[in-house]
Chain length 407, copies 2
Amino acid sequence: MSDAVVLDREDVLADKRALFSLPPNTVYLDGNSLGALPTACKQAAQAVVEHQWGDDLITSWNKHQWIDLPSRVGDKIGRLIGAKAGQVVCCDTISTNLFKVLSAAIKMSPERKTIATTKDNFPTDIYMAEGLLSLLGDEYKIQFIDENDVASQLHDDIAVLMLTQVNFRSGRKQDITAVTAAAHEKGILTLWDLAHSAGAFAVHLDEANADFAVGCTYKYLNGGPGSPAFVYVAERHQARYQQPLSGWMGHSSPFSFSHEYTPHDSVKRNLCGTPGVIGMQVLDAALSVFDNTDMALVEDKSAKLQAYFLAKLEAHGLAETFTLASPAAAERGSQLAFSHPEAYAICQAWIDKGVIADFRAPDILRVGFAPLYLRFVDIEHAVNELALIVNNKTYLQSQYQVVNDVT
Amino acid sequence: MSDAVVLDREDVLADKRALFSLPPNTVYLDGNSLGALPTACKQAAQAVVEHQWGDDLITSWNKHQWIDLPSRVGDKIGRLIGAKAGQVVCCDTISTNLFKVLSAAIKMSPERKTIATTKDNFPTDIYMAEGLLSLLGDEYKIQFIDENDVASQLHDDIAVLMLTQVNFRSGRKQDITAVTAAAHEKGILTLWDLAHSAGAFAVHLDEANADFAVGCTYKYLNGGPGSPAFVYVAERHQARYQQPLSGWMGHSSPFSFSHEYTPHDSVKRNLCGTPGVIGMQVLDAALSVFDNTDMALVEDKSAKLQAYFLAKLEAHGLAETFTLASPAAAERGSQLAFSHPEAYAICQAWIDKGVIADFRAPDILRVGFAPLYLRFVDIEHAVNELALIVNNKTYLQSQYQVVNDVT
């Protein structure tokens, strides 16, 4: 019996895999880009389209509580990121939600004019901050700080510190509690992008005294392609929080059709347009795989899967072929990044063998570990295939060198 | 044989009804709020969830061209609103898209500081303009103009004229060609909200020389609850158009993960976050009911359905009970609005009899005419039921007086 089989037998989360519909003969190491399909989503998609929309039509807004979806789903997400009820809503995209929070937060410290972030933040986070600055005028600016030592670079002109907790390329993970405390000492509000955190490991926003957070739901939360995002506003900030994408769904009483915008007296003031009901119902079903799941166990399994991957790589003599671009276990999220000059072609060859990972420019092979549906035997198989590709130089074949639109 | 049966036999669009899945014993007069379910959407929802997401996972971005959905669906919508290819993308919500266009348009006339709109525009349109102004500073303002005589109120400080073509309450329809010409004479850019236009009647954006437009797809385009919206930017403006919700999907090369935001060289620069793939695939299928459909015929049928409704109302002696709050046929969209002090309760009683319309505060009974699935016999039945409710005062029963969250 292989060590992988033993580890799978000891896995307290092993039963979760049965809740997913996974394609045969595939090891999916890209759940950090698009999570796999929870089986419950099939029924949910059919129910919302055929029954709720088809049969009950407009009456579903009340009958099936479509109008409450953003809060209901938001609170479910909140439970997975350490936020008590009433602080998270599900809506729009992570980019749009970043814009809302940045706008609101920067107005909460009117004497401060700087948004601080890291140069290697996910590009859209930086683009959205730049977009906001294009409206605010020249006195506002972005300051780029080194992700390796955030606390020492904070100063009194920073209004908002916008950080992605887990670097999308390297997997480096920030300590939300420590960084938030350092920011608060300087009077700085914190905005955490949890794209690579939510659903992957334990996050404790309330405990960390975090101010704001956003995240997507199509990665470790398995909400489906382009599923709606979320936004967290700590309760203590909600009354002062005013965001400019002030659409009717964030109104205190949308169906009064009032001429005056009066924001809802809660985190719901983040809502803007009509919620994407079909996507949100599918997401709601997807979140059910986390019912009664201790996120500490999810985090623990992720660490074990990663350690096992690295051990197998070493056993194949490949630890030096692939340069680990991720930090040590305690300082990374649920992914491993390896730099290799042929990372793109190797990734394509691996996919061809049924092992799906992804490539991130310029030279990163990115391996994601979604603890709810990955087994240790999957990791063993994946590394075996990788070793064959490298040892046989399969990746040099021309079909693996063609670059797709989406990597 | 009733006159309704004769009219249905003469209806050149009669076959379209078979493309929809409609609940039995229901007359649906609320397609102007949420369109009915095109049968093709059922299969599309299942395919995108079970096959594309479930089986092909992340590879679907290339394999099933998810990455091209916003343009592909946008061009399909473009054909229904008189826009040649390359000027429409499908994305986000109408509210968010209004914000993008207003931001871009107001920067295109830097010496002008006013957004003009009508007081009775749909509230979210006004709220979004106010939200933008909260970022831009005190020199910018909104000017409210009278919707009955737009042209005479235009002046040289107006940067953008933002109008909803069809008033959501009264159904009053603006003449896009005439108003755009009047605006251009004063150097004003036009932004048309086509929420109650697209799919209901013929719109000719290119011919009218319109500058910008937005619209939703869940009304007469039948895209499903909260389906993604669209935005039109006339080709001549695209190079100068810069909008601040500058997320990675609007980048010229999103997967280069560049530090610099370089907008896509097209209307795609309106894209922001990751597209909601499930909702957009369902919408794509929904639009197929318009294949080979002449929008002039759709418009013609709408006019006939409305005329028939009014004739039946008069035949029942109810023409004075319900005060028509809509203008004459030539000046209205695809709906009729009636004011009545008991409009809310009458609407609830009507729904209880299987005739679904809606109420808009303060006292409007709103009747929408979706020409692709409504028959003249449906209208005959609906007015018969309305007459019974009014003559028997059924609406005074207590259960019809309870106000729901969503009207």
